[in-house]
Amino acid sequence: MRGTKVLASLTLAGALVTGVTTGAFASAHATPAGKVTLTGKTSGVKLTLMFGSSGPAETAAVKAAAAAWGKKSHNKVDVIPASNFTQQLDEAFAGGTPPDVFYLGSQQLETFAKQGELLPYAPLVAPAKDFYPALVKAYTLDKTWYCVPKDFSNLALEINTTMWKAAGLGAPPTNWSQLEADAKALTRNGVVGLDVGNTLDRLGAFFAENGGSYMNKQDTKFTFDSSQNLQALQFVQSMAKQGILAFPPQQSSGWAGEAFGLGKAAMATEGNWIIGAMKSSYPSVKWEAVPMPAGPSGKKGTLTFTNCWGIPSASKNTAAAVNFVKFLTSFAQQLKFANAFGVLPSRNAAAQAYAKANPSVAAFVAGTPYAMAPVPTVGFSTVQGQFDSQVANLATGGADPATMLQQLQSNAEALLRP
């Protein structure tokens, strides 16, 4: 009967065994807010850096940065590009040997911070005003700013300029009715006007454009079932039903960028990561990005996705780690990362310099003042998964926008209950 033990629980068990064998069942290292004491020397130290890489370009850039800092400060950095990042990070923390520096998505901040695993070192690196306020807010919990934003990506509207000209269209759309008319004009010869990822992480942009939101300003209440959100989702559904908007699975694509690159869709709503993908996979496609169009209220909106440099409170070398992050988030290094793999620098000054030198990213940077960050609440991933699983059914009428939002609201509210 040994065979009946399920694979999943063995995976769990594996994580637990790591904890046993390293003998690291120490208590958590909680650090009270505002009082950060750094430990360890600042030179002659060996640090580890774990990150989830988007590809060879990012891995090479991070390794080069680590080597440069190591040489300058007489330290050594062991760079670990993780293949399954969240899982490997969990295992490292559960085993009591977390990496000294790691990538942390804003959605995961609560999970780590609430367990007292995260060192709130950020104010030691630079004043908050040097960074975009939305990004600082994303890494602030109970008025404690935990970690320095690494970089970010915003959604914008990508347009295939060849198809655009062939359809005889003029200026890019700035509002929904123009978007709808343009998508209609572009839908021909088997090409669909607009491809949108079938997830809240893309449709949420339409919520924001219509003045809707995920949560209230204080992040204490969910606001999914607002009339603005409903109107936005109904707009998406009506476009999908007309066949002028498609979701990637309908076009046999893994993501909207693939359908866009292969010429199956004339427009897409993706983030600046699409720049690298277009360059490497579809270099012959001529395209440009414009800011997301505004909703009927005239409000601008988009979504932002960001990572920060996390430092665990259990690290024995926090002094060196903070110095390392100072180097990584410096103006010059942020520009190097941006040029290497297309992320937007989190420092205001660096982002503006980058946009000036690269006009193609201007549309992505433009959204920063009003961009909306993902829901930070612990456990939201499953709730969002439930919503995402129904999005593709909007096209067939198999899913009802009002029901979807009500379910999303009640499932999310259940997370806030103690």
């Binding site: 009967m1 040994r2 065979g3 009946t4 033990k5 399920v6 694979l7 999943a8 629980s9 063995l10 995976t11 769990l12 068990a13 594996g14 994580a15 637990l16 065994v17 904890g19 046993v20 069942f25 120490a26 208590s27 958590a28 909680a30 969240t86 899982q87 990070l89 969990d90 923390f93 559960a94 009591g96 995961q108 999970t111 780590f112 609430k114 367990q115 007292g116 695993e117 079938n198 997830t199 699975p249 309908q250 076009q251 046999s252 612990v378 456990g379 939201f380 991933s381 499953t382 709730v383 998964g385 439930q386 995402d388 699983s389 129904q390 593709a392 059914n393 198999g398 499932n411 259940a414």
Partner: protein, 366 residues
């Protein structure tokens, strides 16, 4: 099994044993007591490495996982850290008794997996038996080649095969292209979460569920329970039937080759037709192999995981408890909930296996 102490080895001198055997017997009879203890000690010594490995990598993790299922451990600390709270049965209650998303997802995963089991086990058993009978035919030319060909899917990486299937069953993939040639518009296989029974009823003109079927069980309505496997699950049923039948074919083949040719010849002389021979002679003699294949099939199909992982989390029409356990653990850092799902699945498999064994036993004594 390994925990049982070794039985005392019995030394029985075979006829014609020489002095060596007699000497051994004499020595044993002289110092019987201490020798038994010594042998026990040696026995334990030899099984200790295996026991230690089992204990460390099997027993300890299972016990720890059981403990975790009663906590709210998030996976980023040690499970015994001060911030981890013991929450009693609330992880189990959220799955079984409290209405909510957790229960709804668990119910959905059980539904999806149940249909997978109900379709896959009979199909793979029948296909494996059929293939075994074919390649067991003495007059078949190139038997070795066929055996290899039928067994091949079983030894190919499930990840590779699933990836190929994902390409085949894309909305504009090869399968839908072929269906298009005969004028059928194929569904978007992997993303269509409608159950096939629902689709059939809709084609017959029944769109709205009758009132009785709105009753909820484990968070989803009876109408949803009766919806049948989704198109995505049908793809996985085809995939798994194809890949597992090779292994089970080998089991049947071994059993078939254990049936002596005389038995078959005797029935032939008695005037049995080929079908009668198969139904009345071959099949009853294959019974032990059949029981084994069905049991292994039931256990294996309830643990569907890697294929589901590849098909993707977007699609809840191919959820399984094993995948859900992984998903809530590593995506939501709800390891307590994940462990609870794993233990409920474990319980379910044990119960089903016990029921099946009892059923088969009664059948045998009849």
């Amino acid at each position: 099994m390994a925990a049982r102490p070794m039985p005392e080895p019995r030394v029985v001198p075979a006829p014609g044993t020489t002095n060596h055997g007699r000497r051994l017997r004499l020595r044993r009879s002289r110092r019987r007591g201490s020798s038994t203890a010594g042998q026990n000690l040696h026995g334990w010594l030899f099984v200790t490495p295996a026991l230690a490995i089992l204990l460390l990598f099997l027993v300890v993790p299972i016990v720890l996982a059981l403990y975790v299922s009663f906590t709210n451990w998030s996976g980023v600390t040690s499970p015994f850290a001060g911030t981890v709270q013991r929450v009693g049965f609330s992880n189990y209650a959220a799955l079984l008794t409290e209405p909510g998303l957790d229960q709804q997802l668990f119910g959905t995963s059980l539904r999806d997996n149940l249909y997978f089991v109900l379709f896959t086990v009979p199909l793979q058993t029948a296909l494996a038996l059929w293939l075994a009978v074919i390649v067991n035919n003495r007059f078949l030319k190139g038997r070795g080649l066929f055996r290899l060909a039928f067994y091949f899917p079983s030894v190919t990486s499930s990840i590779a095969i699933t990836t190929v299937f994902i390409f085949l069953f894309q909305s504009s993939g090869a399968v839908n292209q072929i269906l298009g040639l005969v004028g059928v518009k194929g569904p978007n296989w992997l993303y269509d979460s409608r159950g096939i029974f629902t689709v059939i009823l809709a084609n017959l003109g029944i769109h709205t569920p009758p009132a009785w079927s709105n009753h909820l069980f484990l968070g989803i309505s009876l109408w949803q329970w009766l919806a049948g496997p989704s198109f995505g699950m049908c793809v996985l049923i085809i995939l798994l039937t194809w890949t597992t039948s090779g292994t089970f074919m080998l089991l049947f083949l071994a059993a078939l080759q254990g049936i002596s040719a005389e038995v078959e010849e005797a029935s032939e002389i008695d005037g049995a037709s080929p079908w009668q021979r198969f139904r009345r002679v071959t099949l009853p003699m294959l019974r032990p192999a059949l029981v084994l294949v069905v049991t292994l099939g039931f256990i294996g199909t309830w643990q569907l995981f890697d294929q589901v992982t590849l098909v993707g989390p977007y699609n809840q029409s191919t959820y399984t408890p094993a995948y859900l356990s992984y998903y809530v653990s590593f995506q939501d850092n709800a390891f307590g909930q994940g462990a609870a799902i794993a233990f409920l699945l474990f319980t379910l498999i044990v119960i089903l296996t016990v029921v099946q064994r009892r059923f088969v036993k009664e059948d045998l004594t009849r």
